[in-house]
Amino acid sequence: MNFDDTPQEAAFRETARQWIAANAPKELEEELSKSSLGRIRLAKHDMVEVGKAWQKKKAEGGWACLHWPKEYGGRGATPIERVIWQQEEGVYGKLTQPFQIGEGMCGPTVMAWGSEDAKRRYLPKLASGEEIWCQLFSEPSAGSDVAGLRTRAEKKGDVWVVNGQKIWTSGAHYSDYGLLIARTDPNVPKHKGLTMFFLDMKSPGVEVRPIRQANGMQEFNEVYFTDVVISDSQRLGAVGEGWSVSLTTLMNERMSIGARLATGVPEMFEFCSNLMLEDGLAIDDPAVRSKLASWAVKSSGLKYTSYRAISALSKGERPGPENSIGKLVSGMMLQDIATYAMDLQGAAGVLTGSDEETVHGQFQQMLLSSPSMRIAGGTDEILRNIIAERVLGLPGDIRVDKDVPYNKIPTKGR
């Protein structure tokens, strides 16, 4: 048992480290390292612009989407090399945010289901950041039950005509292409009438509107489709096979092992170490210690769980299901930590401005944003179902709409 690289891994790490030292945008390092929670904002730069510059440089050096085959813009690196790269990329990895949906979800789907022509045309540009992709799955009435989606694609001659609405699309406003799942047959049960496409986000009839979120920010979009025409050559997989295709995408979403989720623990530890309560420092209070300790061991537990997965990759094995717990644990923890930090702040905790008592409102922001952590990318409840069914082998949910034609499924609760 050790944390050491194998000789090959060490050599790879050294190569990556040298390249990063010579090429990374060091002027952004400090600002990037400060933004640990939530979305990254840079004072003087546009996030997408600096992201694209870094991604392009990486592509030129052979470091973009490095686990992809070379002919599609990658490096043909092994899974463990990808993890090592992410570790070495460190804070600069935050610059890849605009490309994560493309790299993690759209790209792998095109790779698995696209024609050779499509792969050669789209993947290298996706990898180099020249073209950004977004994912158009969720709808206002199809979240956890994404197979219940309503957006229609109808075949008219050689083309498909799309009408409907998607929601929670990150980066739709700066994306060039989108991966779209739509209903092509409402007369069959819901999973069987879906088809996957990709489309140019500048197509006529595509309208992107920002969503004002519960925390007051605008980070996601709604995308409306009005008679949008898509060529049949932009279909991925067979007609009616969209659900199987979507599973490739969603599996990849949950496979990202190197990704370290924010837990709020370091911020909370720091806060309690400095906060003066009536009887002394917060961190000297047994009640505070008890809570801090429980969070700290969850956070370290997640860290070492990912180390176990990395070790499996290093040995060329498939990581076990342990990593599925990450988002479930960190999402709830962020919310709990934020609530407790404000409890310790007492009356001032209600303030959301740049007040000194509240450490510039960082926990207030965390509180208001944290509900989304427990919903996006699979709700806590869906994640528990996945653990229960795929890890523990418990029965799937009884699906009352399983064999019912889509257009016969009730759409209102009452």
């Binding site: 048992m1 944390f3 537990g301 997640l302 070492y304 990395i310 523990l392 799937g396 009884i398």
Partner: protein, 375 residues
């Protein structure tokens, strides 16, 4: 990175699991649970023959000389099987104390006897309520004799010798405490069995009256040795707790698959599925924290104090959580004496107190994290 046990260690785990499945069935555990024997002597003998008791004891002292990672995998299996033997007292505490601080003569006397199953050892630290702290040690040592009362002492009624924490100074400083080695079969010792949460592991009160004792380690070094002992034992106990948590989770899962209510497997209800998923989450976090503890223990890393506290907290929480919810998944049947659920519930809650309570270790973890951050 190779943050995992080796193939040989995994093989040892399989071997231990197989052995315990055969020799430590629920029926065997229940002989002790029902008070028909103070511990499972046959199993203890078998563990010695398998080389498990001395797995981390060097060969020169009669052990297998394998190491602490090997001991961790065996500990996990002991927890899984809810073994009714004084393994933790003897192996994690007494043997480790001798390895840390024993003289050559002391090691030669006791370690081979531990490895061969002839001697049971324990730690006599607590004196009633309270957590490990120098000020809570009232038993005195003067001119080589001990006077005072220790309780609860795990496995005290069956132990042959004990490591005893005694006061050699008058204050509450670490240096006021020294450790002593006492042959419990010699004079000056009175032992009384106490009823406790987990009857598969005995607890006792031991009264020392002008009892002859030999020092273990230097005078005034007792607390520092004890702290190291507790850290090491915390990691090893964490593996037992992880084993117990996993077993409780498995029992719950199996029952949820077998039991039909409202015309379907109860494991198809989300209320049950989510409860079991949460148990899996706790057990996984505990396992990962314990692996880190195992690494720190086996390499004597500077990170051991923090790693041990994290493993202890995480594993205590996981075992308590899984044992409690295992009963809940079972419903009424889980509350019968006949079902094994309560044995894990008892063990989980007894283990949560054995080396100091959860709040004690939470306090320790934060103190140790602070120290590290300040350094």
């Amino acid at each position: 990175m190779n943050f995992d046990f080796s193939d040989d260690q995994k093989q040892l785990r399989d071997q231990a699991r197989k052995f315990l499945a055969e020799k430590c069935s629920s029926k065997a555990v229940r002989v002790v649970l029902d008070g028909k024997a103070p511990y499972d002597k046959e199993l203890w003998k078998g563990l010695a023959e398998m080389g498990f008791l001395g797995v981390a004891i060097p060969e020169e002292f009669g052990g297998a000389g394998a190491g602490h990672l090997e001991l961790c995998v065996i500990a996990e299996e002991m927890g899984r099987a809810n073994a009714p033997v004084p393994f933790s007292s003897t192996v994690y505490l007494a043997a480790e104390a001798l390895l840390i601080a024993g003289s050559d003569a002391q090691k030669k006397k006791w370690l081979p006897a531990i490895a061969s199953g002839e001697a049971i050892g324990t730690l006599a630290l607590f004196e009633g309520k309270g957590n490990p702290a120098p000020k809570n040690v009232k038993l005195t040592a003067a001119s080589g004799v001990l006077n005072g009362v220790k309780k609860p002492v795990a496995d005290g009624a069956i132990a042959d010798f004990a490591v005893v924490a005694a006061r050699t100074g008058s204050g509450g400083r670490d240096s006021d405490i020294s450790l002593f080695l006492v042959d419990l079969k010699a004079g000056g010792v009175e032992v009384k069995s106490l009823t406790n949460l987990d009857p598969t592991r005995g607890q006792a009160e031991i009264t020392f009256k002008d009892c002859k004792a030999e020092p273990l380690g230097s005078a005034g070094e007792g607390w520092s040795i004890l702290t190291r002992m507790l850290d090491r034992a915390a990691v090893l106990c964490a593996f037992e707790q992880v084993g117990g948590a996993d077993r409780a989770l498995e029992m719950g899962r199996d029952y949820a698959l077998d039991r039909i209510a409202f015309g379907r497997q109860i494991g198809s209800f989300q209320a049950i599925k989510h409860m079991l998923a949460d148990m899996y989450v706790s057990a996984t976090l505990a396992r990962s924290n314990s692996y880190y503890g195992a690494w720190a223990l086996s390499t004597n890393a500077a990170e051991l104090p923090e790693a041990a506290a994290a493993a202890r907290i995480s594993a205590t929480q996981a075992f308590q959580h899984c044992a409690k919810n295992n009963i809940q998944v079972h419903g009424g049947m889980g509350f019968t004496w006949e079902f094994d659920c309560h044995m894990y519930y008892r063990r989980a809650n007894a283990m949560a107190l054995g080396l100091g309570s959860l709040s004690y270790w939470e306090d320790q973890l934060i103190e140790r994290m602070r120290r590290k951050n300040a350094a």
